[in-house]
Assembly symmetry: C2
Homo-oligomer: 233 residues x 2
Amino acid sequence: MLAGLAGAQGMGPGDVLVMAHKPVSKAEGRVVALADVRPGPAARELAERTGEDPALCELILAESRRIVRQRRGTVIAETHHGFVCANAGIDASNVDPGAVVLLPVDPDASARRIQARLAAALGGRVGVVVTDTHGRAFRRGLVNVAIGVAGFAGLVDLRGGRDRGGRLLVATDEALADELAAASGVLMPKAGGTPAVAVSGVATLPSPGGVGVLLRDPAHDLFRDPGDPASPR
Amino acid sequence: MLAGLAGAQGMGPGDVLVMAHKPVSKAEGRVVALADVRPGPAARELAERTGEDPALCELILAESRRIVRQRRGTVIAETHHGFVCANAGIDASNVDPGAVVLLPVDPDASARRIQARLAAALGGRVGVVVTDTHGRAFRRGLVNVAIGVAGFAGLVDLRGGRDRGGRLLVATDEALADELAAASGVLMPKAGGTPAVAVSGVATLPSPGGVGVLLRDPAHDLFRDPGDPASPR
């Protein structure tokens, strides 16, 4: 199903290209030298509380709507896009020392641009997923998730379908773009060097795409906000 | 990389079998008729608060260490295994009406039994992942995650490795078993009928396995417990 890929070699219509955001971010100029950043008072306060670099904290605050959790050594932010992740997705690996890579300003737009070029080159419909590597609540270890989607429906609504016994399926939205992102992680070593994988043979629903369908409305999220005491057993 | 699989046909040494827990649970007798369950006072109280079936609530309480969140229509529990998921993993799809399927008592042991049989049949090392389908904090849509792992290391510790620029990688535990579980979801439709997929060509680390490495210590989990006020921006 997956094959290592240099560019779009070997891709055909119907395939999905899953690519790490870092080369996209770099191509879009989203690399910042920490020495060029002047931390403001809020960033210095966040740095004080967490032990993180004040310049990094300034960038985290600039990239996020709000800080969701903060601890010594840990800042979980909700980015302007709506992603809840460590350091607002800012990353220092596979980049020059003293520099960091920010997420694309609009990863869906990045995905659409790549998708349009690929579709033109291949003469048919293709899908594109741009990924980032996230930690998870409750579970250890990193997995890739979708941060930009183009050309297919990233969330597949199975409600109204029936199981093999004829029972109505409920609450069965399948996070297809996230499944593909996670699968790509098996073939995209964190040490870098494999920026994209092509996925063949997966049934996708034609759609403009967009990652928004994969983001839970904060009002319906049971874990983003504190202050929700569970009753004791 | 992935191919639909009936039994272990086509598998070879080094492959990983990723299978849904439901056939495993059924084979282990973990099917309960709700009519046979007598809800106690705690279950009736939980049913009252959430609108769920009192018998289902009795089973949720029996299967869990504690309730993590509860809302009208939603119970998130921490199972005795340590999984944080809806309804303690109890599921009513693809089973007779009025019956529900519980998670295996020890999904690692289930994975080890399947792994031993496969390894003997194939004459070489194989890996096994038993999966369940979970929702996520912050994101919409379901993905498969590992609930049992045998024959390989489900979490790959990359700390101490270096990126392509020679920088030390930090905080890069890769949740390999969860990546494989998520990938399998692309090929295991929720309507049922495809209980397992075989994965070839993935480098795995020989290990007895065990899903425990993928479970975050509750003491280090920022989202399980309420009462963690983030400072305002």
